[in-house]
């Protein structure tokens, strides 16, 4: 349970510019040593400094779980809610004050199990918050039960014979819910994670970021098939808008639409007459492509990391505010008038 924050994160350019350290709270961090959450915390603090966020304008909202302890460690406003309900609390905050910069931090159980309903509707409404889902494919806080993202066969205290349920894909659920920004990151890949978080922060609307997070205690190495240093190049593809979908050491592999199908396939440049021109360009505004990328499971096709989908849409609380403002500007009615609208009658004073 030690704080692994290092002191070397950033140097402030001016007196007033905040550094990552300025976002570090005085609370002792209670995650297990080596937990992936530390790296995400570091990346978020760094991102906030980079985007010149203000501590007083920033609110972290969470549910319950290891991940949901996150707000305590931020020197910003923080609301540690109840299990699964952070999206609703965040929605209420934005309805009250659309100018606040709100981040929701959630786990795979918190967001997809008990809070699945709210998760879906937050995305559908496109409330302007950053939604970070720390996916460790396990219930960390309650000591390691399988979660809705756990793979079939996961042995856990509640599934000693291996889990039977099929896992769901957080990104596909997000896309299906009408999310306008869907991205992925890996806890340990700081540079990419910060770049993705920066994009998420800049996006107006719900920016959903699934972060593969290692639970060193209950599910250690569950993502190593594509996050281990030696595996990552071949098993991960970092997607960037407008750039070819290349991966592998030296970017010798690429993705293309398999001829005659509506699915992707991996090709090797230089083999069987394949050139770089055959490789698809990433178009983050293409939802069908985003779904294909989200569906790649690291088996025959690499796991997609980065911004899979980004297409702005109308924002819930902004539209509400507009509607309220329009109605306010179009009326001269006071509340007293409301009470007196419709049929009224007067009882006169009786002469004494």
């Amino acid at each position: 349970m030690t704080d692994t924050m290092t002191d070397t994160m950033t140097v402030s350019a001016t007196e007033t510019k905040l550094t990552a350290k300025d976002f570090v709270s005085d609370q002792e961090v209670r995650w297990c040593p080596g937990c992936g959450d530390y790296a995400i915390l570091k990346a978020v603090q760094r991102t906030l400094a980079d985007v010149e966020a203000k501590t007083e304008n920033t609110v972290f909202v969470s549910g319950i779980g290891c991940a949901s302890r996150f707000p305590y460690y931020m020197k910003t406003y923080g609301f540690h809610g109840i299990h699964g309900r952070a999206p609703s609390i965040a929605t209420g905050i934005k309805l009250a004050n659309p100018d606040l910069d709100v981040w929701v931090v959630s786990g795979d159980g918190d967001a997809l199990s008990i809070g699945g309903n709210h998760f879906v509707h937050l995305l559908r409404r496109n409330v302007d918050v950053q939604f970070l889902l720390f996916n460790n494919e396990i219930y960390g806080l309650t000591k390691g039960q399988f979660s809705p993202t756990s793979r079939v066969g996961t042995r856990s205290p509640s599934t000693p014979h291996g889990s039977i349920e099929n896992p769901l894909s957080a990104t596909l659920v997000a896309l299906g819910s009408g999310a306008h920004f869907v991205a992925r990151g890996v806890d340990s890949a700081q540079k990419q994670l910060i770049a993705t978080l920066t994009r998420a922060h800049a996006f107006k609307g719900t920016s959903f970021v699934e972060i593969f997070q290692n639970c060193i205690v209950f599910n250690d190495g569950i993502f190593s098939a594509f996050t281990a240093k030696d595996k990552a190049p071949d098993k991960q593809i970092y997607v960037e808008h407008g750039k070819p979908l290349l991966f592998g050491k030296d970017h010798t592999q690429g993705l293309r639409i398999k001829p005659g199908t509506l699915s992707l396939e991996a090709v090797v440049i230089g083999e069987q007459g394949i050139t770089k021109d055959d490789v698809l360009l990433h178009n983050e505004t293409d939802r069908a492509l985003a779904a294909l990328l989200a569906d790649m499971n690291g088996d025959t096709l690499p796991i997609a990391i980065g911004v899979l989908y980004c297409k702005p849409g109308h924002i819930f609380e902004v539209e509400i505010r507009k509607m309220v403002q329009r109605e306010i500007s179009e009326t001269t009615n006071s509340l007293n008038d409301v009470l007196r609208a419709g049929h009224t009658w007067t009882v006169p004073k009786e002469p004494e």
């Binding site: 406003y77 209420g92 309805l95 009250a96 004050n97 309903n117 509340l335 007293n336 009224t344």
Partner: protein, 642 residues
């Protein structure tokens, strides 16, 4: 209306004389009329119009819309019957009336359902046009009730209202060229019946005519058709004679009505307006979050139609989301409110605990309905009192207030907003399906004259510690996001009394538990002492009520007092904390009787709090208490106590 000897006079139009003499009207102190028909017959509108006309006549009144939970039950069935009851008079009216003097039955099913509520000798206006065999059987009558003697005890006016309506509308020559279908013309029959009843009670037609013209401004032919039906019904009544079984009545203006501008108001409207006004008086934006549920939804609808007063309404995906959004809104500096009925309140339980733990101002409205689970959605009960007080995990105290009548919802909503913001606590407001839907005349207050209670948000630069409590109220400071230098953490984990950060220290938990309880108990400072509604302040018997039983209890007690019975009435609005003097007050009576529409919830609380031998009088039929039921029960209680 006095009961008169049974006598059946079957009237058909052919027997109507052409006499235009106005029969002398019989004066009544009060009367009860019930309009009943199929769900599609427009009985709620008919009743609502009669209510307006009665308000204009300056009678006191109280209404009870009684409609089925099915949106469109099969036509002609007993479970598709929709009714609207109104009690009006020149004296103080406290309930919608036990039994009715006049029943308007638009079909056999309505007759079947309502007949046992009609006083012996009461008047029935029947639409014979709907008494085909098919409808009679659908209403589960083995034989035609008009001919088998089952109506012998009443005065029956049988008219083919359906045909008379078609004739009246046909007279306009509208049907073909203006595209008014026969179906649409037939739909005017409720206004025909209304016109008839208007004549019986000498009500003005003008407000209804105006209402129709506005309502159907885009289809004037429909307005015209309904007006023609209204006038035709009125005209036919005028031509009938007492010998035809038709009496006409006059109900004088109610004296001693406080002067001022009045309107009719339902509990749901009053609640919505009270919340809007409460937020204004606190100088906060209202953020109202709800998930539709009968009978609570009308509050959501009313506020959604008031956004021009800087009100945000949010229809959440479920009740949990609704309360959590309200909590988030309060956290960010608005007045967060959530509203539901029992099943939805059950879902909000965990989040209520969050609001208690994080000490957020929050108003929670429970428009109670009957039964466990889904129960009887459109019927009324008071069975969520213990849920409001105790229905949460952990020691989780909050404030509970109950509205006693439709108009009272306005005051209660304002008081809840005030306490919630002053004490930084959730306040649960208990209403119920009866007062939510019922309406009564309401003296419209001038909002500008109401006392403001602006909240003190913590400001930039001030010393801040999230546990810095007000010395008197014990309320924590309200420091909203966006304020520099007040960044802090808040949450449902136990927090340190000293720092506001999480703490699992045993002594601290004891202290925080005590503080949360003391804060709520301290709300008693803002609660007036309990007064006696009527009767002596001590004596033989006190009837203790809360919530919507106010009307029937106070009428029953008044009646008994007039008959010389030593009985007092105490009506409790502040359910938690209870008024400071309540225990002493009740101890001054030999007997305490607590009528409730539940199996004895408030009586439990009173026995628990004051170790008094209070007895329950309980009813769970989904219907409000009848005055006579209460009178009988009180007499029986006194008899048994002898």
């Amino acid at each position: 209306m006095p009961e008169s000897s049974p006598n059946v006079a079957v009237v058909t139009p052919s027997r109507v004389t052409s006499s235009r003499d106005t029969p002398s009207r019989q004066t009544l102190e009060s009367a009860v009329v019930r309009f009943s028909g199929d769900s599609g017959d427009g009985m709620q509108i008919t009743g609502g119009q009669f209510m307006l006309a009665t308000a204009v006549a300056q009678n006191n009144l109280s209404t009870f819309p009684d409609y089925p939970s099915e949106i469109r039950a099969p036509i002609g069935t007993t479970f598709g019957v929709s009714a609207f009851q109104i009690n009006f008079g020149s004296r103080v009216i406290k309930t919608a009336g036990d039994n009715f003097d006049v029943l308007v039955a638009m079909n056999p099913a309505a007759l079947k359902v309502e007949l046992n509520g009609l006083k012996p000798g009461g008047i029935i206006l029947l639409d014979t046009g709907s008494f085909q065999d098919r409808n009679i059987h659908r209403a589960n009558y083995a034989t035609d009730p008009r001919t088998d003697g089952s109506l012998d005890a009443y005065r029956v006016i049988e008219l083919d209202i359906s045909k008379l309506t078609l004739d009246a509308v046909a007279g306009l020559g509208l049907s073909k060229e203006k595209g008014l279908s026969k179906k649409e013309a037939l739909r005017c029959k409720n206004f025909w019946a209304l016109g008839f009843v208007y004549w019986m009670f000498d009500r003005l037609r003008t407000p209804t005519v105006n209402w129709l013209k506005t309502k159907f401004a885009k289809r004037p032919e429909i307005a015209d058709a309904n007006i023609a039906a209204l006038n035709a019904g009125h005209a036919l009544a005028e031509t009938m004679e007492v010998s035809d079984g038709l009496n006409s009545f006059s109900v004088a203006k109610a004296p001693n009505i406080e002067p001022g501008v009045y309107r009719t108001i339902t509990g749901a409207e009053a609640m919505a307006w009270g919340l809007a006004v409460g937020a204004k008086l606190a100088d906060l934006r209202l953020v109202f979050c709800s998930y539709p549920i009968t009978p609570a939804s009308p509050v959501l609808h009313a506020l959604s139609n008031m956004v021009e007063h800087d009100i945000v309404t949010f229809q959440a995906e479920d009740e949990i989301a609704a309360i959590c959004a309200a909590i988030g809104a309060s956290y960010a500096g608005s007045l967060g409110v959530t509203s539901s009925s029992g099943p939805g309140i059950a879902l909000k339980g965990e989040a209520l605990g969050l609001a208690v733990s994080t000490e957020q101002p929050l108003v929670v409205i429970n428009t109670q309905r009957a039964g466990p689970s889904t129960g009887l959605p459109t019927k009324t009960e008071q069975s969520d009192l213990l849920q409001a007080l105790y229905g949460r995990n952990g020691e989780c105290p909050l404030v509970v207030i109950a509205a006693r009548a439709p108009g009272d919802c306005f005051n209660v909503a304002i008081e809840a907003s005030k306490i919630a913001t002053k004490y930084m606590t959730p306040v649960m407001v208990l209403s119920d399906g009866y007062i939510g839907n019922a309406s009564e005349p309401w003296l419209i207050p001038d909002i500008d004259q109401l006392e403001k209670f602006p909240i003190n948000l913590h400001k930039e630069g001030e010393y801040f510690d999230s546990t810095l409590r007000d010395e008197v109220t014990l309320a924590r400071p309200w420091a909203i996001p966006g304020t520099p230098n007040l960044e802090h953490h808040i949450g449902g984990l136990e927090k340190s009394y000293e720092t506001g950060e999480i703490s699992s220290d045993p002594e601290n938990h004891q202290k925080m538990t005590d503080i949360r309880a003391a804060k709520i108990n301290g709300v008693v400072r803002d609660i007036p002492d309990q007064h006696v509604e009527s009767g002596a302040a001590s004596g033989k018997l006190v009837i203790v009520g809360w919530g919507s039983t106010y009307g029937p209890i106070s009428r029953a007690v008044n009646n008994l007092q007039e008959a010389g019975v030593d009985v007092s009435h105490v009506h409790v609005r502040h359910i938690w904390p209870l008024p400071q003097n309540l225990g002493d007050l009740l101890a001054g009576f030999e007997h305490i009787l607590v009528p409730e529409m539940n199996s004895g919830q408030f009586v439990k609380v009173l026995r628990d709090q004051y170790l008094l031998d209070a007895k329950g009088l309980n009813k769970m039929t989904g219907q409000p208490f009848k005055i006579v039921e209460l009178e009988n029960a009180i007499r029986a209680h006194l008899e048994a106590a002898k």
